[in-house]
């Protein structure tokens, strides 16, 4: 099962849920930290590094001896990443999406593709958990290519995969969620929490992936999130209380299920609830 953990609003507890679920499942699980702009899972699951690779995206490189400055490449490019002013084409790497179009349209075959570094993918082993994380280089604008690189490390061996998504509802989150079997949306019972949950629900429905909700910091607000979920027929699969001890453990980089063993059953129940929903043929909507 590929389980993604997302939220509209930041700071609701995605990483808390992801890492504690991973620890609860234990040996064999794969945890992929797809928040490549600000990865955090490795702060809670510290293991030994087993891999570290630079990730590049293909950007055009022009062979000036073959180029006749026809400008076809510049006319084709939708991103102004390659442009010709009657001289050899100029490439603007940070604008390039790596579509390969310029190389295809060049009548002289003068364009080949070279790699431009966007970040790294690191793999770690922590007590039988395989942790994969991506780190976007500072100043690189686009996260999805690196997110796809992190996801490409996923092993198809029947073990559960947890994808820790970035916050929000736009392209980095979409890149993370695509192909998942189930999505957990983490929220808090406040006006911001509800508003952003509604946005996230619209997004997940657009992707047609079954989902359920986790409500974190119960008690700090009111029941608006619960009412919304009830009205929409969305199952709430876990509620975590507003326990200052959880916040403190989190602030120190400790797993909740390690620091406060009484919470182990919460995460075990969450897993069980997810499996039930999936076996029940998608009560989640």
């Amino acid at each position: 099962m590929i389980l993604a953990v997302a939220s509209g609003k930041g700071g609701t507890g995605k990483t808390t849920v992801s890492v504690n679920l991973a620890r609860t499942i234990g040996s064999g699980v794969q945890l992929l930290d797809c928040d490549v702009e600000e990865p955090n899972a490795h702060l809670f699951l510290r293991g030994r590094q087993t891999g570290n690779e630079v990730v590049s995206i293909p950007i055009p490189e022009v062979d000036e001896s073959l180029c006749d400055a026809c400008g076809e490449c510049g006319r084709f490019c939708r991103y102004h990443a390659i442009v010709s002013f009657g001289s050899s084409p100029l490439v603007f790497p940070e604008l390039c999406h790596g579509c390969g179009g310029c190389a295809l349209v060049c009548p002289r075959g003068a364009i080949r593709e070279a790699g431009r570094r966007v970040g790294v993918v690191e793999t770690q082993e922590v007590d039988g958990i395989t942790l994969v994380l991506g780190r976007l280089d500072i100043g690189v604008a686009m996260a999805p290519p690196l997110i796809r690189a992190v996801k490409s490390r996923m092993k198809n061996n029947g073990t559960t995969v947890i994808l820790d998504a970035p916050p929000g509802t736009s392209c980095p989150v979409i890149a993370t969620l695509r192909g998942s079997d189930f999505v957990l949306l983490v929220t808090e019972p406040t006006p911001f929490g509800l508003h952003d949950l509604q946005l996230a629900v619209d997004m997940v429905r657009e992707l047609t992936i079954p989902f359920g909700v986790v409500v974190n910091r119960m008690g700090i607000g009111d029941d608006r999130v619960h009412r919304f979920c009830r009205e929409q027929g969305i199952p709430i699969l876990l509620e975590l209380p507003d326990d200052r001890r959880i916040a403190e453990a989190y602030s120190r980089g400790e797993l909740v299920v390690d620091a406060l063993p009484e919470y182990h059953s919460h995460f075990a129940t969450l897993l069980w609830n997810i499996k039930e929903i999936r076996n029940g043929g998608g009560r989640a909507s």
Binding site: E37, N40, L136, T190, H195, M203, R252, G253
Partner: protein
């Protein structure tokens, strides 16, 4: 000269959920005559506190999307072979191919190379941006469409409209509620601004993410201050974070205590400084420390 800079404060965080929006709302109240800009376009929340009355709506179009005309599709699979983004969905036996609009990045390769010219390439409607009135001043905000590409252009549009309003109506200050992370929406919020304030929290995540976002701000040469929110949750971590900030060349704008009343204020649709919350005084001191023109407290 048009396009000249108005003073602008961008509030960012690196890590999400540290309190950017709550703080922006309070600053909006404390500032004398600001224009507000909500640049967290894919999870905009500032309007929940500032209750804007919408005056203008504008469609936001950016880029194109490929759409296959099924009746004309030969099923040859050329588009599928060429697409770098996994956006082409093969049809079943003898059925037309289709483009997944969520995955399509609008590059135009399939459109160009389809042997039957069966692929249209209309401009993509990605969302909308709005100009509104609030009790604190004009506000520019936006709504990005579901699964739209957050290329930073909508963020730029919100920012430049806010600056234009500020120029036209003589406001001295634009306050920007920024997005989390370090990618294109954040870059689009930060570049060319007068100063940035990073709101963080005293946790290992907050520390880790602060380091990255400070590097980004330095990369763009933006004068940056840091403020630790909920600082008393972990005082020793707070000190570590402040030391990190100073080493990175940022100023410390102050600390805000953990306060249940913040959520209570949010529930009432009020900025924290519009209530008697214990942290309101902390927020006022941070605002003072930023030393911006258009500071009501000064006059």
């Amino acid at each position: 000269m048009t396009g000249a800079k108005v003073e602008e404060l961008v509030i960012i965080s690196g890590k999400g959920g540290t309190g950017k929006t709550s703080l922006t709302a309070s600053f909006a109240v404390l500032a004398e005559f600001p224009v507000l800009a909500d640049c967290d376009v894919d999870a905009a929340d500032l309007h929940l506190i500032l209750a804007p009355t919408v005056r203008e709506r504008h469609e936001f179009r950016s880029g194109n999307e490929a759409v296959i005309r099924s009746a004309d599709c030969l099923g040859c699979g050329k588009c599928f072979e060429l697409c770098r983004f996994g956006a082409v969905v093969p049809g079943g036996e003898g059925e037309a191919y289709a483009i997944d609009p969520v995955a399509c990045e609008g590059c135009g390769v399939c459109v160009r190379f389809c042997p039957a010219a069966a692929i249209d390439f209309p401009e993509a409607l990605c969302g909308e941006w709005l100009v509104s009135e609030t009790r604190c001043g004009p506000m520019v905000h936006a709504r990005l469409g579901v699964a739209a590409e957050n290329s930073g252009k909508l963020v730029s549009t919100v920012r430049s409209e806010a600056r234009r309003l500020a120029n036209e109506h003589g406001h001295g200050l634009v306050i920007v509620d920024g997005p989390p992370g370090i990618g294109c929406p954040v870059i689009a919020s930060l570049t060319g601004t007068s100063q940035a304030l990073v709101v963080t929290e005293p946790t290992v995540s907050g520390e880790h993410d602060l380091e990255r976002v400070l590097k980004l701000a330095r990369h763009f040469g933006i004068p940056t201050s840091v403020c630790v929110n909920k600082w008393d949750l972990n005082p020793s971590m707070t000190e570590r974070i402040e030391a990190l900030a100073l080493r990175a060349g940022a100023r410390i704008a102050g600390r805000i205590r953990y306060d249940n009343a913040v959520t209570a204020a949010q529930m009432l649709g009020k900025a924290v400084v519009e209530t008697e919350a214990p942290s309101a005084g902390d927020i006022r001191r941070v605002w003072e420390a930023l030393g911006l023109q258009g500071n009501k407290e000064k006059s």
